[in-house]
Amino acid sequence: MSDPAPSPTREGSRAIVTALEEAGVTLVPSVPDTWIGWLMEELRRSPRLRVIDVAREEEAVALACGAALCGARAAVVMQNAGLLNCGAVIASLVQLYRVPCFFLVSYRGDERDPVYYHAPKGQRTEPTLAAWSIRWARAAGPTRIGGQIREGLAWVEEAGAPFALLFSAEDLA
């Protein structure tokens, strides 16, 4: 089973780009998946965002921390598989040094995902975030995701902590 074709409207993807731009994000380190690939088409069109393609997700986290320490804003974009890779760097860099770090995570394997092999990751994502003491939210659709991003970015700055916004394909449509 494969992912369905992306929606031609992409209202949610454009809302994400606008929210990131308006919040002053300039760097978007990322490892792609299919859904993120759709989002990337919009992100790469932005003259104010620089997408940084990284080889592995832990690098994206460290890169975002380096930017934050220098007063810049980044948004880490990865699949939940990548998030599950990042436990050590989140604990030993983001949380240990209390660095703001905002994650935009494609939520594969939840009830909205038609692809069967993502299901085990989906079942473990929210319990893992809870175990790692990471605040998170599910995206609430294309019309609300922009506001959620702005709130999430403001929160990480205040808290000096990570926040993950989990999105599905329908949030990009």
Binding site: L69, C70, R98
Partner: protein, 195 residues
């Protein structure tokens, strides 16, 4: 004779310029030495997060193109995250230099050997298309290498480093909050440029 770590660090610190340099140290001996070396530039030392120093420095280099960022990394840490060299090469930060301390040991965890193969980090870095990748023979070559790499990176220099199990490496002496706040204060200091 293979230089000791302090020989490399002393040359590095002596050449740092507060107006233009930033320094990142990966976990282990380099991070433990930094508070004792009178480092005159904003610096950030990791006490954990093995493998994170180079991408952390990359984020700084991209956020502050007006600064030359130098990352100190161990051979074991780099071996854990070799793919990061491709990430660095793709991002093309002209202002990033990586110094790899090559002593074939996990020094900070008790001196265990790395996997028993001599990895040619210069060859790996060249294969990843870094702009500069060289192995230095002695500490007297470091100052010139750093100057050559300034604004011409990304650069990687492998520093052959003597492993001495009796070396009195100081313990970690700064807390993470102190390190973060000191880094931010140093970046915002008069003459250092605002963030």
């Amino acid at each position: 004779m293979t230089p000791p770590r302090r020989a490399w660090l002393d040359v590095l610190v002596a050449g740092l310029d507060p107006r233009r340099d930033l320094l990142v140290a990966g976990l282990g001996a380099n991070a433990r030495y930094l508070p004792h070396l009178g480092v005159p530039v904003p610096h950030f030392a990791l006490c954990d997060a093995m493998g994170a120093a180079i991408p952390l420095a990359l984020g700084m280099a991209l956020a502050r193109p007006d600064r030359q960022v130098t990352a100190l990394e161990g051979d074991g840490s780099l071996l854990m995250s070799l793919g990061t060299l491709a990430t660095v090469a793709a991002a093309r930060p002209a202002n990033l230099t990586v110094l790899v301390f090559d002593n074939r040991h996990y020094e900070s965890s008790g001196g265990q050997h790395l996997p028993a193969v001599e990895v040619d980090f210069v060859a790996v870095a060249r294969a990843a298309r870094l702009a500069i990748a060289e192995r230095l023979a002695g500490a007297d070559e470091l100052a010139g290498a750093l100057e050559r790499a300034r604004g011409a990176g990304p650069a990687l220099f492998v520093l052959p480093t003597r492993y001495d199990p009796q070396e009195p490496i100081p313990p970690y002496s700064e807390r993470p909050d102190e390190i973060r706040l000191a880094f931010r204060r140093a970046l915002q200091a008069p003459g250092a440029g605002s963030v």
